[in-house]
């Protein structure tokens, strides 16, 4: 048996991730919701189940599909472990996104101490997306084959180098065994290794910044420091165990999808991207592919990366939506986006036909520039309204505009998921 002091010593070594004492207010569950910690837990679970799957899976077009069938039909818990891995991957996107939203909406991104972690966070989020997407190809069924065909084709709209990038990613002109090999290597070695390194870097920077940005509180009983053991650790273990149990139970009922074997000659109808990319797919319905798949996503990504260095008059870290006014502006922005986006989608489907009105113009203008100008004009009107009604400072404007884009992307995704039937025609969910 270890003596208490020795145990304490081991514990402090294991707890390099936390200080010995933390502010009481910052461990309130409804402030962080434990989202960062849950993301870590799910990544560890993903590594565990991923290694198990690697004992059975064979990464070649001739064998991949059969090895999945073998896994599901002849290995005890084979289907179950695959379900966990699949569900866990999707939950990771959700949790990492929610974690980023919590950090954003409490303004925990200000330079110099927290901006680096904001950037690291975006990089890790992209890695998680990329990991999900590369994993999507592994079963080599109709779903994975066509989703990967469509998404890798998007790169070919980058001017000049685009087609070469597509060939490079695929290892050839089409999605083949070379693509599967490339994706397998990224999915099982390059991404997880990079992710682990960035995670360690991320935690270290959280410690350097003095833990999570503590919420602003006026209540006396929330002030002061508490020992991390047991106050925080027990909470973390409890939340982690509950989350594990939820994932394990859900995985019993939610089977990971497996369609027919991949057939390069037949696309299923409709082909839908995985749900986390379906908002981009919906944008492709309305914009020239160079604009919808390259310009707009890169522009938004640039906005995310640059966000900590906009000239903020105040550092309101720890206060939701920067201020009460910021919260109102964000809610109104969300509502505007929620109404405007469906209207525009329907209008573009039935009323606006730039390509028919200007048949002689190249499609990059009629399908690219014109819709962007139209949308830009409406967005400018929204900004004018925002300024007139709330007179927000930069902090509040950024919160509101971010909420606007978030809701817009959510509506686009929901439209793609539930309102597009065969041939990608707009229809009600119950008609599909």
């Amino acid at each position: 048996m270890l003596k208490p002091e020795a145990m304490q010593k081991n514990l402090t070594f294991l707890l390099h991730i936390h200080p010995k004492k933390v502010p009481r207010a910052s461990i309130r569950y409804t402030y962080t919701f434990g989202l960062g910690g849950l993301t870590v837990l799910l990544i560890l679970l993903q590594i565990f189940t991923g290694i198990l799957l690697k004992f059975v899976y064979l990464p070649s077009p001739a064998k991949a599909y059969d090895s999945i069938l073998f896994l599901q039909n002849h290995i005890l818990f084979g289907q179950y472990v695959r379900n966990i891995h699949h569900l866990d991957g999707e939950l990771l996107i959700v949790l990492a996104l929610l974690h980023m939203l919590r950090v954003f909406f409490t303004e925990a991104f200000h330079p110099p101490i927290r901006s680096g972690n904001w950037i690291l966070g975006i990089c890790m989020f992209l890695l998680i997306m990329f990991s999900n997407f590369t994993g999507y190809l592994m079963p080599w069924d109709q779903l994975s084959y066509w989703a990967v065909t469509v998404v890798t084709n998007m790169f070919s709209y980058i001017p000049l180098i685009g087609p070469h990038i597509t060939v490079f990613i695929r290892g050839g002109a089409d999605v083949t065994g070379n693509t599967l090999m490339n994706f397998f290597n990224f999915h099982t070695a390059i991404i997880p290794l990079t992710l682990l390194i960035l995670m360690i870097f991320h935690f270290w920077k959280v410690r350097k910044a003095g833990g999570v940005a503590p919420p602003r509180t006026r209540q006396e009983e929330e002030k002061g420091l508490v020992p991390v053991m047991p106050d925080l650790i027990v909470k973390e273990v409890a939340v982690g165990l509950i989350a594990l149990a939820v994932v394990f139970i859900l995985a019993i009922f939610l089977d990971a999808p497996l369609r027919e074997r991949a057939n390069p000659a037949f696309s299923p109808n409709p082909v839908k991207a995985p749900w986390y990319f379906i908002g981009i797919q919906e944008m492709l319905m309305h914009f020239h592919p160079f604009v919808g798949a390259i310009v707009i996503p890169l522009f938004l990504l640039g906005f995310l990366f640059y966000l900590p260095w906009l000239h903020y008059p105040q550092n309101n870290a720890g206060f939701w939506f920067s201020s009460l006014k910021g919260r109102q502006a964000a809610i109104i922005s969300g509502i505007i986006a929620f109404i405007l986006t469906p209207l525009l989608i329907v209008a573009d489907e039935y009323l606006i036909h730039f390509n028919r009105w200007f048949p002689s113009l190249p499609s990059i203008l009629s399908e690219g520039l014109f819709p962007v100008l139209l949308y830009g004009f409406l967005f400018y009107l929204y900004l004018l309204y925002l300024r007139k009604k709330y007179r927000p400072n930069v902090n509040e404007t950024v919160q509101a505009v971010f909420a606007f884009f978030l809701i817009t992307y959510t509506v686009l995704s929901l439209t793609g998921l539930f309102f597009r039937g065969p041939g990608m025609i707009l229809m009600w969910p119950w008609q599909i």
Binding site: T149, R170, G172, T179, S267, P268, L284, P289
Partner: protein
Amino acid sequence: MSKKISHSKINPPPEKEEHAPKITTDTSRRSFFRKIWGWVALAAGIELAGLSIPFIGSGRKKQTKEKSGNFTAIAQVWDIPEGSVLPYRSGRLYICHLKDGGFLAVSIKCTHLGCSVEWDEKKKEFLCPCHHSMFSLNGEVINPPATRALNIYPLKIEEGVIKVNLENPIQRKHYNKSQETYA
């Protein structure tokens, strides 16, 4: 006194080492080697990158087959009624018999993002299931998001037999009459 001097020689105070001009003008052996190591590290980096490039880009080599330039016999002219198509799935193309009697071997791959287009016999058009692009019988875009006409393959007709070169898809912006082959 002498002790003090020797001490500072062996172990100079840290501020002095950080003094920028001193490092740049220092021509001592140590700074020379420091530079050498820098260059060696750079060389090592380039070596490692150079090693990986052939591996990362190995896909195309694994795939290259000798291009034979052969034409494959697919169908006979009278198999396909005018204004209709014959799908040839294993070659991922359609043989289209246009209204004016000409033939085209049109690729199955939508030029938007690469899904396979389906022929709608009632509407007489190709429809892409991914993003609802539509193409006419000759492969021309009727409805975006696709931005250019479907690819075609070299096609020739010998004694009523339609033959297609499956290895060389031809990209085209638009359809024009010179692309057709007549029986």
